[in-house]
């Protein structure tokens, strides 16, 4: 293996985005030993005080979280009528937010599972907080259908539980598939994240100075001691989880798209929806990872672990998935015309030129034009530009879901039933509040848990290669399996 040795780059090379044929770009900069990685990552959660920016952000997030609480309680005590929903538009901000947040949640598992199977070692710098982001995003997503049912006290009817009414959920309905898909996705993402966290929690436990930290991290580290007999099963379990999550992550947004595609509504009843939704989910998820990574690496001084190369790679993924989304937009129009179906043709003309033309224009300019800027390396590697563009993509992807849901519902088959949707303050408050929940959880995570997967980063350092300081390759003689305690 030819590699740039960490000590050769120590302190000097900062730009690791340049491809040098025959060498591997370093993924960890300015560090040569494992202890340095531990110290740098653990420092964040061991510090007595967080950076000032953290407190400011946390206060803002808590404020929005409070707004969410007010809006949700007001809705529960009053009824779904506090939202701006009307008769043809029975789904609007609620389902838009649900699809938006589930979509955000796709990047974490994509990074942890698919990039793991493809042996993309650069994932180690960003997988931990991308996975955390996934879990928090799916929690935000879960709120919306949960409160949209109106009578939240009977929300357990979503699950197949025996009851005195002798009724069961309708398993031939995509809405029920969603319950299973999102539920499984949340559970598996949580397992994946937690499995990865175990060795790092053990690191924090072993470094803890105070009794409280020792007990708290100790309990969640489950008594991990780095035994190689454990690592052997751990690595296998991690590989299995990656292999299971890969089809899962593709299935979740496909099932979400079935909520629309399986219905008969023009604009929704489209076979392109599953792949188009998955591409859109990855597109928006990566944009959110960039949105979070850029300030987080500044705030906690992790620029040598989340390097410019990581951000550059993520921007490339945004470019690819953004192009797929652009292709899907144009293909939808082509098929609407090619199908010859009157209602289908109307739905798409109405989408671009009807009463929601401004939302459509916003969506196309944010999602189709913006990612194309990432063809230029100067833009892919410019921190302020990529941060701004990732925000633009987030806005665009929210509007994509709004356009699909609201414009299709508002102008359906009969012009006499057409209606215009206007959000109320509760709609807007709940949407903003979900961001509060998301950022509150994310900031708490950054502060108290290892934001970078320490054990995994150590594995991709040149020093982790057992033959690092030898010239040739030397592998031990294959051992016959012994009957030891395995």
């Amino acid at each position: 293996m030819s590699s740039i040795r960490a000590d050769q780059v120590g302190g000097r090379i900062v730009d690791n985005t340049t491809e040098v044929p025959g060498t591997r770009a370093p993924l960890v900069l300015n560090m040569t030993t494992f202890g340095q990685v531990t110290a740098q990552v653990a420092k964040v959660s061991e510090a007595g005080r967080a950076p000032l920016a953290w407190y400011v952000a946390f206060a803002g997030s808590l404020g929005l979280l409070g707004l969410l609480g007010v809006c949700v309680l007001y809705l529960i005590f009053t009824g779904v009528g506090v939202w701006g929903l009307n008769t043809p538009v029975a789904w609007a901000y609620d389902i838009t937010n649900f699809v938006f947040w589930v979509g955000i949640g796709h990047a974490g598992t994509l990074i942890s599972a698919i990039l793991f199977l493809f042996r993309q070692k650069w994932r180690t710098g960003i997988n931990r907080f991308a996975e955390a982001m996934t879990i928090f995003a799916v929690m935000c997503a879960g709120i919306f259908p949960g409160i949209h049912v109106g009578r939240v006290w009977v929300v357990y009817w979503l699950f197949p539980l025996p009851n005195q009414m002798e009724m069961w959920p309708q398993f031939r309905s995509p809405l029920l598939w969603d319950v299973f898909a999102v539920g499984t996705y949340f559970t598996v993402s949580l397992l994946f994240w937690y499995t990865g966290l175990i060795p790092d929690l053990a690191t924090l436990r072993d470094r803890a100075k105070g009794r409280l930290q020792q007990v708290a991290y100790g309990l969640f580290a489950l008594g991990w001691r780095g035994s190689n007999r454990h690592w052997h099963r751990y690595e296998r379990a991690y590989l299995l989880l990656a292999a299971l999550s890969t089809p899962l992550v593709l299935s979740v947004h496909s099932v979400v798209s079935f909520d629309f595609a399986v219905s008969q509504l023009p604009g929704w009843h489209t076979t392109i929806f599953p792949p188009y939704f998955v591409a859109g989910a990855i597109f928006s998820g990566f944009a959110m990872v960039v949105t979070l990574a850029v300030p987080a690496r500044e705030m906690f001084g992790l620029k040598n672990l989340i390097t410019l190369r990581h951000l550059d790679n993520m921007n490339k993924v945004i470019l690819v998935t953004g192009s797929m989304v652009g292709y899907a937009y144009s293909m939808e129009f082509f098929i609407a015309w090619y199908s010859g179906a009157l209602y289908e043709k109307f739905a798409f003309v109405n989408r671009a030129f009807g009463q929601y033309w401004w939302a459509y224009l916003l969506m196309v300019s944010c999602n189709v034009i913006t990612p194309q800027l990432f063809w230029f390396k100067a833009i892919r590697t410019s921190i302020p530009l990529m941060f701004f563009l990732s925000l633009v993509v987030n806005v665009g992807m929210w509007f994509e879901r709004f356009v699909i849901i609201v414009s299709s519902l508002a102008n359906d088959f009969l012009p006499s039933s057409w209606e215009f949707f206007t959000p109320t303050w509760v709609d807007i408050g709940t949407m903003a509040g979900a961001f509060g929940l998301f950022f509150t959880l994310f900031l708490l995570f950054c502060r108290f848990l290892p934001m970078i997967a320490m054990a995994e980063v150590k594995m991709v350092m040149p020093a982790a290669n057992a033959h690092h300081d030898e010239d040739g390759h030397h592998h031990g003689t294959p051992a016959p399996a012994t009957g030891g305690p395995s």
């Binding site: 470094r207 296998r236 320490m454 690092h468 031990g476 051992a479 030891g484």
Partner: protein, 206 residues
């Protein structure tokens, strides 16, 4: 779990505290992945059975050097996935039927509901839930199976009480030979571990 009692010289007064000190084993510290890989191979060749390597991250090649048998975890996960698949099919077929059963621990009846003229037993519509439950059962089994076979979670372990061992989750690599190993002899094993290039060898109390 039995532990090996250190042989205390007979001249020691009986009944003293040192009599009752049980040791878990010997801990040898190494500085690099390369060092522990070479050392582990020699420990295996020396015929020890109750021993282990503890590392901050999985060291490539160490499984082979230690002679660890492949885990049966993938087989367990396969059957768990199969269980999820069958369970999901049975659940959906039953709830859409007019049958009665006690599978949910109470007497339950199905809820046949005709919609859009779709057949009650419509397998294509069951596929998403079948798929999700297959994944769910398999994923739960891979994590909890891994933890159970590893004997985790546990609140304490002799090694976790050792101060030197704290760096096992940071930047050092350790070999532990347990006192219960038939080939374990306090002095001979210590000399052996030192000969492997360990930077430190010390006793771990039980």
């Amino acid at each position: 779990m039995t532990t090996f009692e250190t042989s205390v010289p007979a001249i020691e007064p009986t009944g003293s505290l040192s009599d009752s000190v049980k040791i878990h084993g010997l801990l040898a510290e190494f500085e690099t992945p390369g060092d522990i890989l070479k050392a582990a191979e020699q420990v295996r060749q020396a015929g020890y059975r109750w021993w282990d390597c503890c590392t901050p991250f999985p060291v490539h090649g160490l499984d082979r050097a230690m002679g660890i048998k492949p885990t049966i975890l993938p087989i367990m996960v396969f059957f768990a996935g199969l269980t999820g698949l069958i369970a999901a099919f049975v659940l959906q077929a039953f709830t859409n039927s007019s049958g009665m059963s006690v599978w949910a621990m109470v007497w339950v009846t199905g809820y046949p509901y005709l919609i859009s003229g779709k057949p009650l037993l419509s397998i294509p519509a069951f596929i998403p839930v079948i798929f999700e439950l297959t994944i769910l059962f398999a994923a739960l089994t891979s994590v909890f199976g891994m933890l159970t076979m590893n004997g985790l979670p546990r609140l304490n372990h002799p090694l976790l009480g050792n101060d030197r061992f704290r760096r096992a989750t940071d930047d050092r690599f350790y070999i532990v030979i347990e006192a219960r190993d038939p080939k374990f002899f306090r002095t001979r094993t210590e000399a052996f571990l030192e000969s492997l290039g360990a930077v430190a060898v010390e006793e771990v109390q039980d």
